[in-house]
């Protein structure tokens, strides 16, 4: 058991090392873009504010009555922050697929080595899953640190009269993407990232179906993903289906969604285990 655990940790570490260039690349883009944004956005705000006040002969009070003040939200709502965030999310979506296909593609077919390791093959599945999650959480942590860093950079570049102090939780809750990525309550956080986990489990199972049965497997994968999605969202539509919005309490609907997500997760893990042990082909 201890030996198996060591093998698993080594495999996660190995996968993480293979992800480092990609992860550091995305992190570098996020840091650089965020830093540029935290400087350019307040400077451009100040320049526009001065120009407006001069053109419209406004003093600061009159300006603030007509135009919004500057806050950290001004920075976080800019493309400098949204851009790398979108890049990071799409990058990890791509990486979740690439993490499997790279083993088969190219001159060196590393899948031979992976499948011939004297470890349960489901370890390969979980090591890749863990790695993607470690990557996503690393990126989110950096993004959170960057938001905190904005408080040290941006306010110093804006006239104190025009700066409005907004605390971090308000910045996050007023931001469409951050409110989703950094939920305020632990329950919401666990719920959202569990959905992410189920999504990855279904995606990985779909990929393994394709790798096991090729073109037919691709169709199986799509069908499996659609069935999983229907199963998870179905409870939300129960009131609509039965044309009775009081048929279930919202908490009961949530419970059904959680149950469906657990079923989909368990089926995905067991199906992936079966495919890796019995059906996968190099």
């Amino acid at each position: 058991m201890k030996k198996q655990l060591i093998h698993f940790i080594r495999l996660v570490n190995f996968e993480f090392e293979r992800m480092i260039k990609f992860l550091f690349g995305i992190i570098a883009i996020v840091i650089v873009s965020n830093l540029i944004g935290s400087i350019i956005v307040p400077l451009s705000y100040m320049s526009e504010a001065r120009e407006t006040m001069s053109l419209e002969s406004l003093n600061v009070t009159q300006f603030l009555e007509m135009y919004p003040s500057f806050s950290i939200s001004t920075v976080t709502n800019s493309l400098w922050i949204y851009g790398p965030l979108a890049l990071g999310i799409s990058g990890f979506l791509f990486y979740s697929i690439y993490i499997w296909y790279r083993e088969w593609l190219g001159k060196n077919t590393f899948v031979y080595r992976l499948l011939m390791l004297p470890i349960p093959r489901i370890f390969i599945f979980f090591s890749k899953l863990f790695t993607v999650f470690i990557g996503i959480f690393s990126l989110l942590s950096i993004q959170y640190v960057m938001i905190r860093l904005f408080y040290f950079i941006s306010p110093s570049l804006v006239s104190s009269d025009l700066y409005k102090q907004v605390d971090v939780s308000e910045v996050i809750s007023s931001h469409r993407a951050f409110a989703f990525l950094f939920p305020e309550s632990f329950g919401l956080f666990a719920g959202l990232y569990s959905i992410g986990l189920v999504f990855l489990l279904v995606l990985f199972t779909g990929i393994l179906l394709e790798r096991s049965f090729r073109i037919t497997g691709f169709i199986y994968g799509i069908v499996y993903a659609v069935i999983s999605l229907v199963l998870i969202v179905l409870p939300s539509f129960i009131p609509t289906i039965f044309k009775n919005q009081y048929i279930l309490y919202p908490s009961e609907i949530l419970l059904l969604i959680i149950a469906a997500a657990i079923i989909v997760s368990v089926v995905s893990i067991f199906l992936s285990k079966y495919l890796l042990e019995k059906k996968i082909t190099v």
Partner: protein, 229 residues
């Protein structure tokens, strides 16, 4: 003993193996011969559970396939299967991390035998040297059986000679070897058992020495007879 029993394998509608059965003993070099596409590589992949079979069974010392079998049987495919950016040293460390049967002393012997430099990256090596690295990571495992798929494919004559030497050295002694090759002339004198394949079935199975002594035929002679070449 390694037993392949009534193995059937289809790719789509095409039958590649149609009831293949043979055994390979420890200490023997068993050679799978046949023209391209008769299923030689598929048999090796099936033994290693790298491709599913539709029917039949594969036993290694009477045990069914399991993750632990990779500590008893090694496969050296006809492709570099370590990551190209790895150095030879890193590839060796990777193997050591996972295999209980990794023999570091033998690995160092092989490095000297093949005149490889551990600091070299696999992607920078010639095809011949990449084949040597594949042999290194396979042969340095203290396993009972070794499978080799076309170890002489596309490599120069000097490397071929060096690899041929492996078969008569202590690196192979007492192990069971199953090899597929087109370059039969390089190792004909070393082969114990020959399995001739054609269209997914075994056409003939014989011991090379018996054939030489009793019927005065070499492996190539038998191949000509069987394949009407």
């Amino acid at each position: 003993m390694l037993e392949v029993k009534d193995v059937h394998k289809k790719f789509g509608r095409k039958k590649v193996l149609n009831g293949v059965s043979f055994t390979a003993q420890k200490g023997d070099i068993t050679c799978l011969l046949g023209i391209n596409g008769v299923g030689k590589t598929t048999i090796l992949n099936a033994i290693m559970n790298l491709t599913p079979i539709q029917k039949g069974s594969i036993l290694i010392d009477e045990q069914p396939q399991s993750p632990d079998m990779y500590n008893r049987i090694a496969f050296i495919p006809d492709a570099a299967i370590m990551l190209p950016h790895m150095t030879i040293k890193e590839a060796m460390a990777f193997m050591q991390d996972y295999y209980d049967v990794w023999n570091e002393k033998r690995a160092k012997d092989l490095i000297r035998f093949f005149r490889l430099k551990t600091s070299d990256k696999i992607q920078d090596l010639s095809k011949g040297n990449q084949a040597k690295v594949s042999l290194l990571v396979g042969l340095a495992l203290d396993v009972d059986y070794i499978l080799m798929d076309e170890p002489f494919s596309g490599i120069d004559i000097f490397t071929r000679e060096q690899i041929s030497e492996v078969f008569s050295s202590h690196l192979i002694a007492d192990r069971g070897v199953i090899i597929t090759t087109h370059e039969i002339s390089d190792i004909e004198h070393l082969i114990d058992k020959v399995v001739l394949l054609g269209d997914g079935v075994i056409l003939k199975e014989f011991y090379a020495e018996e054939m030489r002594e009793q019927e005065g035929l070499s492996v190539v002679d038998v191949m000509r007879e069987v394949y009407n070449a």
